[in-house]
């Protein structure tokens, strides 16, 4: 779960449910203010934020330069991918 995830509360519109790497988490941020940068800060550890990673929102690539201006909405799926070995 995300570091700042909270208990589910359907009526509390200050919490938003997101799917980060397929895992449901809730973040305690005003919906209209939640952008990709904030969502990633909720999900990633400080160490991971320093590593190489790339992001997709609902299956579409989001470049690093666009994190700030990319709004994230209730129920969105975010993939955060890191380098691994491959063939």
């Amino acid at each position: 779960m995300g570091q700042q995830s909270m208990n589910a509360n359907e009526d509390d519109n200050t919490k938003m449910k997101l799917f980060m790497n397929g895992q449901g988490i809730e973040v305690s941020v005003e919906a209209e203010n939640l952008n990709m940068l904030i969502a990633l800060q909720h999900y990633l550890t400080p160490e991971q934020r320093q590593q190489s990673f790339a992001v997709a929102l609902n299956g579409d690539f989001v470049g690093k330069a666009d994190y700030q201006q990319t709004l994230v909405n209730q129920g969105d799926s975010i993939d955060v991918l890191f380098p691994i070995q491959g063939g």
Partner: protein, 269 residues
């Protein structure tokens, strides 16, 4: 004829014809030693989800970065795990941002049983990525028409399989591969997947393939470092054999040793 020891990847000359995967080794250190022993300059890698608790990927990435620097080599990210053109295009864009390369080994899998590429999705993804400036290295079956379509779209490199990924079955259909070589003489052809032993790689090079991409055959060997050297030598031997020009097969025997004046020669008449 002269031996051209460089591999042409969209105009980039690479001085090894072996492309090597970075997965499945007993340890990152053995992976590093095997890559160095192979002489390969192109290392494949991938992207995956990583939950906050996981940290293993960071070390592997560090090893691969060191290897690329040490070998003055190149990264070739793949789109492993993708089943649609859309997934593959997204993953390619993510790879380009992380790895700072427009090379992409394009994999779009159509069947979970044999990991056979989906030709329809592959063509769609190829067209989109080429238009977006990628240098696409498509992994495909040994189907001449699919290879021809990929080439017509603008792929300068095409990578038909020898056999399904990880099987080690070698060249399932040499006729198909020879035909692709014959019909696409200008394409850089790299045999990708299914290689099991050094002689498989040698055979591909004897057919006139430009390179071989493999992973399991080295990584799963009892001694991956020695096997990496064996593959490097096999590829050079096969290439030299092709360039040297092989003799034609003959139906009847012809003595190698001159028969005139051999001991106990029975002269007629």
């Amino acid at each position: 004829m002269t031996l051209n020891t460089t591999l042409n990847i969209y105009g980039q000359q690479v001085d090894s014809r072996l492309l090597i995967g970075s997965a499945l080794y007993p340890s990152p250190e053995i992976m590093k030693q095997a890559v160095l022993a192979s002489g390969s300059k192109i290392i494949t890698l991938s992207l995956k989800r990583q939950n906050p608790a996981e940290q293993a990927g960071a070390k592997i990435w560090q090893y691969i970065q060191e290897l690329v620097k040490e070998t003055n080599g190149f990264l070739l990210p793949n789109t492993a795990g993708c089943k649609t053109a859309k997934e593959a295009v997204t993953l390619a864009k993510m790879s380009r941002e992380i790895f700072q390369t427009d090379w992409i080994k394009l994999e779009v899998i159509g069947d979970d049983y044999n990991l056979q590429p989906d030709p329809i999705e592959l063509l769609q993804a190829t067209e989109t990525l080429l238009a977006d400036g990628f240098k696409v290295l498509p992994y495909c079956t040994d189907d001449l028409v699919i290879c021809q379509r990929l080439y017509d779209l603008g792929c300068q490199v095409i990578m038909p399989w020898a056999s399904p990924i990880g099987t080690g079955k070698g060249l399932m259909n040499p006729y198909n591969l020879e035909t692709i070589r014959l019909r696409l003489p200008e394409a850089t052809l790299i045999l990708d997947a299914g290689i099991g032993k050094p002689s498989d790689a040698c055979l591909a090079m004897e057919m006139g393939f430009d390179g071989v991409l493999l992973n399991s055959a080295i990584a799963l060997a009892d001694n991956p470092v020695m096997m990496a050297k064996a593959f490097a030598q096999a590829i050079i031997a096969g290439e030299q054999g092709f360039v040297a020009g092989m003799m034609q097969q003959r139906q009847t025997a012809h003595p190698s040793t001159p028969t005139l004046d051999t001991p106990f020669w029975h002269q007629q008449g």
